[in-house]
Symmetry: D2
């Protein structure tokens, strides 16, 4: 077991991927959203986070069914963006090491996960 | 001079217009932005805030010249959204009273202003 | 009925009050919150928004009971800040005209309201 | 060179640390801040992010000198929180693997960095 070593490229790639997820979530959570405005918000989220260093690709899907179900039970015609309406994939490349990460609902919570690490 | 009266429709319309401006600014300030992603962010901001009650129309222009000038002086190829890159018009209607509001730079600060109040 | 008149001080005060509410809500919605961290967040929200022009006083109460009830039903020990955990009062003074505004739950929604306008 | 392996605990710890940094930055960037309100905001940021899973410790220092210097050049008495006013350390523990991360200005940019990884 090693101690206080400098990070590997794979570890740095995972750190960068985490930054992108935290940024995406906390920049956009709370945004007013309705089924009609979901697609422009998803595109803006993708293009905004793709600006960040080492970020190769961001894919945001709004779970429109869940959004419509929530609004059907409500007197309002919009709600606030939160994790249960989102499915997100983010791909980061750091010095040739590629990390794929994913956020989706699991047991009622939006869970951010490392999917794969290539060219470690 | 009256005291503690209930608000007029015009006053309620101005309050609603202020809510939209504060929402728009503080939801999206800090978003990573580059000239290529400016247009998708502007569209998402418009459609998101138009969801809010009494909001008739939102127009967001990103001052791309200022954005490009800042990036030309920088080693980064994106920056964070802030007021000096934005020009915004928001129109609110409350019980038939229409309020037009505007945000633009004045003396180096983004200033939010009531432009006109119709059908007071 | 007048058209396109310039705003009165009371209308400007209401606009300013709305800006503060939209700012407070959309800056802090989504913040990770637990009963133990509620008080530091409430204080930060108050002091942050009191910096804004014409803002005399901000009072934020976190509805700790509702927060604890939600966490009791959950496997998580924190959640995200949203309107149903907040009760907020904001006082704005514009050219001697004082506006008191309030946000609280009504019919399941956080409603922002003008309470009173003095020295109109 | 391995391909598509599952993440190590150290890689997962780095991913979690990145999430905390992105969350902290994009939740609070844009908050109105003055020297008098800096300390309550720093405390709220620390306690909010410490709620997140695997987060052991968050230390936020506001660079008050830089804040005062900016306000001395300005007609305003507050500004918006951005990276150049912040120095942040975040410690994450994932399955016994401890990651220390840091954000500070470097060449005019706020840089988030992995400092050390222990018990890899």
């Amino acid at each position: 077991m090693s101690t206080d070593e400098t990070p590997t490229d794979a570890e740095a790639a995972c750190f960068e991927a985490g930054i992108k997820f935290g940024s995406l979530y906390h920049q956009f959570a709370g945004t007013p959203i309705a089924p009609e405005s979901a697609s422009s918000l998803a595109t803006a989220m993708e293009e905004a986070i793709e600006n960040q260093p080492h970020c190769i690709d961001v894919t945001v899907d709004v779970r429109t069914d869940d959004l419509e179900a929530e609004l059907a039970d409500s007197t309002a015609d919009y709600t606030e963006l939160t994790g249960r309406f989102l499915e997100v994939e983010i791909v980061v490349d750091y010095e040739g090491c590629t990390v794929v990460t994913h956020m989706a609902m699991e047991d009622g919570y939006p869970l951010m996960k490392l999917e794969s690490i290539r060219n470690r």
